[in-house]
Amino acid sequence: MTAETQSLVSKGTFLLPESASTLSSNVDSLFYFLFWGSVVIFVGMLLVGIWFAYKYKRTPQNQEASEQMIHNTALEVSWTVIPLIIVMIIFAWGYKDYLRLTVVPPYAKEIRVTGKKWLWEFEYAKEGVKLLNEIVVPVNTPVRLVMTSEDVIHSFFVPNFRIKRDVLPNRYTRIWFEATEVGDYQVFCTEYCGDGHSNMLATLKVVSESEYTEWLAAGNSNDDLPLDELGKKLYTSKACNTCHSTDGSSMTGPTWKGLYNSNRTMADGSTAKADDNYLRESIVNPAAKIVAGYPPVMPTYAGLLSDREIAGLIEFIKGVK
């Protein structure tokens, strides 16, 4: 699985992905404080352990413990109280940053997010834009996501922003961020949600203010693309690739290889030919005909695709042989 975004491992430090939001640098400071603190404590204990193991190993001269030290109140109280003070500082520091992650600035731009098996839907209420598995936001602008799920619990995770929040059915959860760097960032689903869980990915595109305005003005149209190229683009951007392969392998849904004009056998025993009308129906009303051997899990794409986009997908399927 090759992702468009390459910033998780290749960029950033050895331990953390590149930091790209106003909140992430605070989180990273505490992370490294904990990391180096842990290294110091661990290495300290290790050295003491190695020293004892070497010095007091059993030898013919050292058959018995040389001294039975069973108690040292000062020592015991200090290694109770000092760690307690340290963890209380860490607690307060972590809580302070957590509040910053939680409290959304009132002027933040709002985008609605719906998670469902296995795709992310983003709807810009004011701008009238709807996107699948792709979200475009302007840089240096606070953005609030109001999230809900249509089925099971999902979780919205952007490693580069250090943010994560569960997405629940029948309830709204919120998350916010302010991106500081232009670029493409990976969105993961991090609450296990079934067979397509690891394919429930989205790309978060941070663009400059002017690009964002241009993008909105263009209405996100692909009018200039030829139909089959448009279909190829939609195949990934609309998450068809989560369940349908183009190389003949069987995933959650049937492969598209050699699909066009083939004869299909349905779960109820009936047959149908995969012509244009069949494919259109399968996209806008997937539950109408279920191919034998596959679960009836595909969500409807009615309202999510324009007529031209449906035509593009059909043209693309035609070409997959």
Partner: protein, 531 residues
């Protein structure tokens, strides 16, 4: 030393009925030991297979559904069939009465019932593997679990039944420690393993019913459509998480406390030292048992629980870290000026110290609210959990197994292969899990069938590690089983331990001691014991 009849507990009776219907805590302990080892092997096999699938970023051997079933079965078998009963029901059953100086547990029939219930529950779980293996993850989160078409009911029913086995063992141990102490065995002369077992039993008795109720409600929801957790029926899925973790967080202390008990036994015997700070170690077990009930919400930091609750749970989580840290410091200082012998059990003690410290320190990352938001549900959590549970509990279990093996079966194992196998397990374990910390902090989510290409080198490294780990365990199985047949006869006290089990024969007679031992000093008092 020989007994009046000259017979050990193996020779006291024969035939399969003498095992299956025995009331002897030692035989029940050994049957539990065999059962949990088989469960460990099965869970380990699932782990090898799922790590194999993760060698490549896309499909290698299994479909997504099969992979999901594998990690669910790995988790469920390891948690419910192996690690919860591992130390208490096997080594605890065998050694709790003996260390106490008693002939048996307080309720031998209840003890046998607990074992029979365990087998009955285990059969339900095994049935679920063949009847459309469950794919929900071992946490059974709703509404996914109530909508899954796999065998959710048989697995949760299995866990429900296993809960009774756990409760009965806990009740039995509490009663035994309260009522069966011989003359001179005061509370503060109890070996620390018994303090740990006592604290564990209290959690088992108080927390397990909540899991039972939760799983029962879930079964009702799935079978009768009553809306408790499923929002489509008017329920609340987060309520399930609260219920589940109200049991399952204390349950991780059911898993780790007995291990800590074994650690205290190992460090004193192999250093020939009295434990440093007996009362701190003993009281910290009780402190852990109490605070462990108040931290379940740290599993829900990103689930949408209130910010206020989140703050309190983070605070309490940091508090529970302190008693665990105290114990580790006490064990370390116990080595000071000792006479340290590096036999296999002590190598497991050192492995525990190394691995559990990493597990504990990374737990601080996860308890910190802002950091947890980033690390939650990534491989960092997987690595942390395994460093505590496998690096902690399993290492101590293996340490205890090697420490008490001569006493239990009356035979010595090969010390050479014991050390080799411990080394392989230690190296293999770190290879598998250390890289998972890095993957996790880099953003790799857990329970992923496919993953981004960039993560492959670390995933492959982790998978190679499982083969080293597996080899270590195969060697261990071979030399332990071989010792049963051709091992040297074990002396009564091969390590120079002071607790009462070393004052009887190897293996012990049916009633544990020929004469009721008299307890005149602290359990680890090497000066008064005059050894």
């Amino acid at each position: 030393m020989s007994t009046a009849t000259g017979k050990n507990f193996f020779e006291a009776a024969s035939g399969w009925k003498s095992w299956l219907f025995t009331l002897d805590h030692k035989r029940i302990g050994l049957m539990y030991l065999a059962a949990v080892c088989i469960a460990f092997g099965l869970g380990g096999l699932f782990a090898l297979l799922l790590r194999l699938e993760l060698l490549t970023p896309t499909q290698l051997l299994f479909s997504a559904k099969q992979y999901n079933q594998l990690f669910t079965l790995h988790g469920a078998v390891m948690v419910f069939l192996f690690i919860i009963p591992s130390i208490p029901a096997s080594l605890g059953n065998f050694f709790l009465p003996i260390q106490l100086g008693a002939k048996d547990v307080a309720f031998p029939r209840l003890n046998l019932a607990s074992f029979h219930i365990y087998i009955f529950g285990a059969l339900f779980c095994l049935y679920s593997i063949f009847a459309g293996a469950i794919d929900t993850g071992w946490t059974f989160y709703t509404p996914y679990s109530t909508q899954s078409d796999t065998s959710v009911i048989s697995m949760t029913l299995g866990a429900f039944i296993l809960g009774f086995s756990s409760i009965l063992t806990g009740v039995n141990f509490i009663a035994t420690i309260h009522k069966m102490r011989p003359k001179g065995m005061t509370w503060f002369r109890l070996p620390l393993f018994l303090w740990a077992m006592y604290a564990t039993s209290v959690i088992q008795v108080l927390a397990t019913p909540v899991l039972g109720i939760t799983l029962f409600l879930m079964i009702l929801e799935v079978s009768l459509g009553i809306g408790i957790f499923d929002p489509a029926l008017g329920g609340d899925p987060v309520l399930f998480q609260h219920f589940f973790w109200f049991y399952s967080h204390p349950a991780v202390y059911i898993m780790i406390l007995p291990a800590m008990g074994i650690m205290s036994e190992l460090v004193t015997t192999f250093c020939r030292k009295n434990i440093f700070g007996y009362s701190f170690v003993a009281y910290s077990s009780i402190a852990i048992a109490i605070i462990s009930f108040l931290v379940w919400g740290h599993h829900l930091f990103v689930s949408g629980q209130s910010e206020y609750a989140t703050m309190l749970f983070s605070l309490l989580t940091f508090l529970v870290a302190i008693p665990s840290a105290i114990k580790v410091f006490n064990w370390l200082v116990t080595m000071y000026k000792g006479s340290i012998s590096f036999d296999t059990p002590f190598l497991y003690f050192l492995s525990f110290m190394f691995l559990f410290s990493i597990g504990g320190l990374t737990g601080v990352f996860l308890g910190t609210l802002s950091i947890d938001v980033h690390l939650h549900d990534t491989y960092f959590v997987v690595a942390h959990f395994h460093y505590v549970m496998m690096g902690g509990t399993v290492m101590a279990f293996l340490g205890g197994l090697h420490y008490w093996w001569p006493k239990m079966v009356g035979k010595m194992y090969s010390e050479f292969w014991g050390r080799i196998s411990c080394l392989l397990v230690f190296i293999g374990f770190n290879s598998v899990f250390f890289v998972q910390f890095i993957m996790g902090s880099k953003g790799m989510p857990r329970r992923y069938y496919n993953y981004l290409d960039q993560f492959q080198p670390l995933h492959a490294f982790s998978t190679f590690g499982t083969w080293i780990l597996g080899l270590g365990f195969i060697i261990m199985a071979v030399y332990l089983l071989k010792s049963l047949k051709s091992g040297e006869k074990a002396p009564d006290n091969p390590w120079g331990g002071l607790t009462l089990e070393w004052k009887t024969t190897s293996p012990p007679p049916l009633e544990n001691f020929e004469t009721v031992p008299e307890i005149t000093h602290d359990p680890y008092d090497y000066e008064k014991a005059g050894l």
